[in-house]
Symmetry: C2
């Protein structure tokens, strides 16, 4: 498949679970002319579900391209949104009622979108992927072992390490360990993990914050940075030596800085990126002030991927009460990252 | 010693280490007529050091009461600051150069101040203690085993359990475990500790936030609250059952709420007090936005004690560059707490 598009960035959007709020927040985001004006847009989703969502928001009909033929050409140069359905429309897609068929369709959309990204990014295209939320339990019913977008895309693109970045208006935070019990953090936080994450962040620093000399701060693990080893040894034995090695590669890294200092510093513009040692250390301050403005970004894939900071929200799906603010932010952030990367 | 004072609250201030920034931030805070107007004030400190600090800030000379006789009467009814020195002035107190004599004097001041509090609070006086920073290493040189103000005052007043509260303009946060390595948090966070802390906070809720129906939120320990036990069991096995028991005593307690939700909620006015399970979970979000406005409060003593959110800062002491904002906040917070408690 060849894509003929304008000189704007190309953003590929996946529908997520058709029974969740994905379809309506996508339609909501694209009903904002400012968002539509940022990029050439492909929405990969169920045609019936997405057309209904577009209509309910009063959006102009998208062009529908329902053939997955690899020889075809897709023309985006007229600025209209292109809707691609990887299969046949769902018979039965009721908001709030996730089904096995819906989960399969979600996965098919993700596969098609990642194929488009693979082809396009190989040719040096300025492309980003924005994914609406999926339900991992539902998808693991049709694809055993499915954990989430991040790991799935990592494996599909055959990369062995990816990093999650939270990008907000004032803060950019990287949790080095992620969804693990708090008591396991000390064991999982190795010098190797921190080093790989730091190097991936250094490589992607311009994508993340637009600055070649991005100031990266590394948080301490223990209260007050461990007070010289009196309150935990990891800051001395793991974090400090890793920072010292990383600084030989990229000098603008500082730390370990106690967590109750580093976020104040970053929030007031003194740091561009904060490396948090575990989920809540980074997410609690981040979401406190970036709840609506924050976006998840994955770095380490062959392209930038962003997603809004919410889940499928089956309980409110179809009621047109879900806010599209976070999805708009995810698109804006993706476009900004693509532009910054150039 | 009898204290004759006005109907304003009585605030007793301790100097802290004479070589630190304590003397100058006290003088700086009291040079604000609005702060002086809030309370009757006793400063317990070295007469020579404090008089010099007062003079350098252009403050009116305080009355000096240098006799520790228990039969004397102290008259504060004229509204002037009273300076009390528990011994003889230091010969040699150079800013930035802590000494053993200075540490002994720091401790003598704390002892005298706590004696005043003990007598006064026993008679139902509306009193609070505000402490300037000490250096625990220096004091432990003259008083082995000294850990900090909180534990010292706890033992001096023979109470067996006290709680630290961080009081800011928008957030009030209680760290349930405090200065321990992160890897020990799961083990130290028992249902008993959480329950005792919750009950102490419930008892002091009006002092902390002025509301009889204060909404208390309890943070989860693990990312996303443990996702039903998949990411750590403590939220189910320890925190939830404790909250359920505590709610039988005081119903306005909610949780466990994931840390990346609870601070957003509190910051936007949806909760009055947040119980954080460990130091950085509470302090990182708190200090991010309350760095200058935040105050430490100790509850569980026979009176309210506050302190500014900084240390001795020997490196900048005596240069008159230390900000008095936090010390002013500590006095204001103490006065507000005393008024709220009535």
């Amino acid at each position: 498949m060849r894509i003929s598009h304008t000189n704007r960035p190309l953003v590929v959007v996946t529908m997520g679970d058709p029974a969740g709020i994905g379809p309506e927040v996508i339609a909501g985001a694209l009903s904002d002319p400012d968002v539509r004006g940022l990029a050439d847009l492909i929405v990969v989703g169920d045609a019936r579900v997405m057309l209904a969502a577009f209509e309910s928001r009063g959006l102009p009909q998208p062009k529908v391209h329902d053939k997955q033929g690899s020889g075809s050409t897709v023309d985006l140069s007229d600025g209209r949104v292109l809707l691609m359905d990887p299969g046949i429309p769902l018979d039965n897609a009721e908001p709030g009622k996730p089904t096995r068929e819906g989960a399969q369709k979600t996965l098919d959309c993700l596969d098609l979108a990642s194929d488009i990204m693979k082809e396009g990014s190989g040719s040096g295209g300025r492309m980003a992927l924005v994914t609406a939320p999926v339900n991992k339990e539902m998808i693991s019913g049709v694809k055993p072992g499915f954990i989430g977008h991040t790991e799935y895309l990592r494996d599909r693109h055959e990369v062995d390490f990816v990093t999650m970045v939270l990008v907000g208006e004032k803060l950019r935070v990287v949790p080095v360990t992620r969804h693990i019990p708090l008591k396991d953090v000390s064991r999982e936080l190795t010098g190797d993990l921190l080093m790989r994450t730091l190097m991936q962040v250094v490589d992607a620093r311009v994508v993340i914050c637009g600055r070649n000399e991005a100031r990266i701060g590394v948080s301490a693990l223990n209260p007050h940075g461990g007070e010289g080893g009196k309150i935990g040894k990891e800051d001395i034995s793991v974090i400090k030596p890793t920072i010292d090695r990383a600084r030989a590669v990229y000098p603008h890294i500082v730390g370990p800085i106690p967590a109750d200092v580093i976020f104040h510093k970053a929030f007031n513009g003194g740091l561009d990126i904060v490396m948090a040692m575990y989920h809540d250390q980074g997410l609690a301050p981040f979401k406190m002030v970036e709840f609506e403005t924050g976006v998840n970004m994955t770095i380490g894939l062959p392209y930038v991927r962003t997603s809004p900071d919410h889940g499928t929200a089956f309980d409110i799906a179809g009621k047109n009460i879900a806010s599209s603010v976070s999805f708009k932010q995810a698109i804006k952030c993706a476009v900004k990252a693509v532009r910054q990367a150039v």
